[in-house]
């Protein structure tokens, strides 16, 4: 009797687990030649957006965001120009299922090698507020933090490279 009950319980667990997998399938594994995109939660995000000893440049973007894709080549150029002088990361707001497909594929096409993270959080309001209370969440957003933590450049929409470079140059002089 006990064995039958355990058997039914096991079957129930299998059904519930299969249903959860069906509704929330895990992301496909990445192809070997694609850049790595790291999934982060709110805790890791909070740590990442704090500058260290170098200025920290962060670009928030998504592959579904047309102006994000348009400005990306300029951001790649800036990354290449200031490598070693600033820390530059990008944070993708694509859906989780794109973690190992669309996002790294785009990065490969762009020849981008700045560390890229994909944020998955149930509290986007808090994540947005951590950057600025003036930000409503529109993408793209580019923000530059001095090592002190002060935000010295904050731009919603397609970034103007000359303006961003001027802000970076002012910090690294």
């Amino acid at each position: 009797m006990k064995a039958i009950s355990l058997g039914w319980l096991f079957a129930l667990v299998c059904v519930v687990s299969a249903d959860a997998q069906r509704r929330n399938p895990p992301p496909k594994p990445p192809a070997a030649d694609l850049p790595k995109v790291t999934k982060i939660d709110q805790v890791r995000y909070a740590a990442l957006i704090k500058p260290g000893t170098r200025p920290l440049l962060i670009n928030f973007w998504a592959t579904w965001c047309v102006p994000c894709r348009e400005e990306f080549p300029d951001l790649v150029k800036i990354n290449n120009e200031y490598k070693g002088k600033i820390d530059f990361i990008t944070i993708s707001l694509d859906f989780e299922e794109e973690l190992n497909t669309t996002v790294p594929q785009f990065l490969k096409e762009m020849k981008a090698d700045m560390p890229t993270y994909l944020l998955v959080t149930p509290d986007e309001s808090a994540a947005i507020a951590m950057i600025s209370k003036e930000w409503a969440g529109a993408l793209p957003l580019t923000v530059l933090f001095a090592p002190s933590g002060e935000s010295v450049f904050f731009h919603q929409g397609v970034v103007k490279p000359a303006e961003l470079k001027a802000a970076i140059d002012k910090l690294i002089q």
Partner: protein
């Protein structure tokens, strides 16, 4: 006499400061502020003003985009909420301020997404700038007297697969039952409103 006058002016200023309602700011709206009336054309060119579209219990102004994938992810939820609360006296009004989306595109998108509420065209993003709208979708829930009650996201999950908080519906239900709205302002990632460049 002079001392009495100064005291009177100080008290008068203090009373005015305490009782003055929040004002509509040029660069955005504050919760509790009364929005100014506006008139905009719909996709057929017919002019509408806010009062003619207002619901008996309130109005939701929702900034939308024909192109934005986040709006696409929300379209069914927007339609469901609009239909569910229309009978309860809350009307939805869509606004498109995107300079990159022409009328033909907006109209065809409306038909494709099945919106059952008016879509107003905010050419030159005048209303978007006045209200501080920057992202799609972005909702402003006004009560029956056009006082802003809630501003921000519809719920906490763009994908719709892990909704844990229904911000807008919760605001409606609180207001309709006479309770204070706990979360009056939220934010969520979305598409930038493609605004016309200032001349």
């Amino acid at each position: 006499m002079r001392r009495s006058l100064l005291a009177f002016l100080a008290v008068f200023a203090l009373v005015g400061f305490v009782t003055m309602p929040p004002v509509t700011e040029a660069n955005g709206l504050e919760i509790g502020s009364t929005v100014e009336a506006f008139s905009l054309p719909d996709t057929d060119g017919k002019m509408h003003n806010l009062d003619s579209l207002r619901g008996k219990k309130g109005t939701v102004i929702v900034w939308l985009s024909a192109q934005c994938p986040v709006v696409a992810a929300y379209k069914d939820r927007i339609n469901e909420i609009a239909a569910a609360y229309k009978d309860k006296g809350i009307n939805f009004v869509g606004i498109n301020s995107n300079a990159t989306e022409d009328l033909t595109y907006v109209k065809s998108n409306m038909a494709e997404f099945g919106y059952q509420f008016p879509m107003l065209i905010d050419k030159g993003n005048v209303l978007a700038d006045k209200w501080g709208a920057t992202v799609t979708p972005e909702v402003y829930y006004l009560d029956k007297k056009n006082v802003l009650q809630y501003h921000g996201a519809i719920d906490n999950d763009r994908s719709g697969k892990n909704i844990q908080e229904q911000f807008l519906k919760t605001a409606f239900d609180s207001a309709l039952s006479g309770k204070a709205i706990e979360k009056t302002k939220t934010a969520a990632f979305g598409c930038t409103i493609k605004k016309a460049k200032a001349e």
